[in-house]
């Protein structure tokens, strides 16, 4: 039962996110607004309840499955972009390599050394 209470909290904050997005015409998705709102709420309370904890963990664990229906779509639009795939592939692979390298470099530059070896 306790995870059901937790789920209620998550859905509640999602609806809060929807409301805020609608009220202020935010260009951000309701889920993200809800996540930030819940983070602020947890900070205000100073702890995570058992209920929210037990609802969040399984949901985070299946995140990858939740995006699958969208991901599969790419296999069905192959023909629509016949002339563009090489471009798309090169841009994505090279672009990602460059951006991963840049982010790593930036992080290593600004990040203080870890105190303990983890």
């Amino acid at each position: 039962m306790s995870s059901l209470y937790g789920f209620l909290w998550l859905v509640g904050f999602l609806l809060l996110g929807e409301t805020l997005v609608w009220l202020f015409h935010l260009p951000v998705s309701p889920g993200v607004v809800g996540m930030l709102a819940l983070t602020l709420w947890l900070m205000a309370k100073g702890r995570v309840s058992q209920e929210i904890q037990s609802a969040s963990q399984p949901l985070i664990a299946i995140l990858a499955m939740l995006i699958m229906p969208g991901v599969v779509g790419v296999f069905f639009i192959v023909e629509a972009f016949a002339g563009q795939w090489l471009i798309v592939g090169m841009a994505l692979v090279l672009g990602t390599l460059l951006s991963v390298a840049t982010t790593l470099w930036l992080m290593l530059r600004f990040m203080p050394k870890a105190d303990t070896d983890e």
Partner: protein, 240 residues
């Protein structure tokens, strides 16, 4: 396929259950196969699962739109799941607060470049504006990326493909580069995975450990928020 089977397929497709069943089966089979193959970093479980699912749909003759309509019920959970990321974010807050400055310095250039490198390359190679708009949110988590792509005039399935390739490539390159350069700082690796590789990177980061996972969640959400504001603006400025 015989007429009887076709009729059965039509009956089963009347409710979303068949689509949900197929998604679950493909996901679990993909996860198993991933372990069986020795957890290759170049081919995450979600890619194996997506290929299995695409093959199943093609073999059974199920129309992608029919599948998508049913599986949409499953994707509804993406909303509460995104909200749930507040928990690891909150739990790691003390560590993140210590590192507020590196995070703030790194994020805006990293998120901008994540989009610009690929959009720039694609533009140089002669991609259509539609393709450019679909590639721009490539490092943004799916629910936010959908909104951005619609705003820019891109194609959602193409954007999802871009997301998939970017996620896969991010986990692969982070694995390679961290091994080469001997980086084992979970905070750095997690953040890089989240900023560049959205959900796929974040899932990978949780395999490194809870600290990496929290930094990935942080990187992913900040990139999402930043890009949702930055990309539409940049698009207007360039006049695409």
């Amino acid at each position: 396929m015989s007429e009887g089977l076709e009729a059965l397929r039509a009956v089963l497709l009347e409710t979303p259950m068949l689509a949900i069943f197929l998604t679950l089966v493909a996901y679990l089979a993909g996860a198993r196969l991933f372990v069986r193959l020795g957890k290759p970093s170049w081919c995450p479980a979600v890619l194996i699962a997506a290929m299995l699912l695409a093959a199943t749909l093609a073999l059974t003759g199920i129309d992608y739109d029919d599948y998508r309509a049913g599986a949409g019920w499953l994707m509804l959970l993406l909303g509460p799941a995104t909200v749930a990321l507040a928990v690891p974010l909150y739990q790691q807050l003390p560590r993140i607060r210590e590192l507020w400055f590196p995070v703030l310095y790194t994020l805006p250039p990293a998120a901008m470049l994540a989009a610009l490198y690929s959009v720039g390359l694609a533009w140089l190679l002669g991609a259509t504006p539609e393709v450019l708009a679909s590639l721009a949110p490539k490092s943004v988590t799916a629910p936010i990326a959908m909104g951005i792509t619609e705003q820019l005039g891109g194609v959602i399935p193409l954007m999802m493909g871009g997301l998939l390739i970017t996620g896969v490539m991010t986990t692969a390159f982070v694995g390679l580069l961290s091994r080469w350069l001997g980086i084992r700082d979970e905070r750095v690796l997690g953040f890089v995975l989240g900023v560049n590789g959205h959900v796929i990177g974040t899932v990978r980061a949780f395999e490194y450990g809870p600290t990496a996972g929290a930094f990935a969640s942080l990187g992913m959400s900040l990139t999402g928020i930043f890009s949702a504001l930055f990309l539409p603006l940049a698009w207007r400025l360039v006049g695409l």
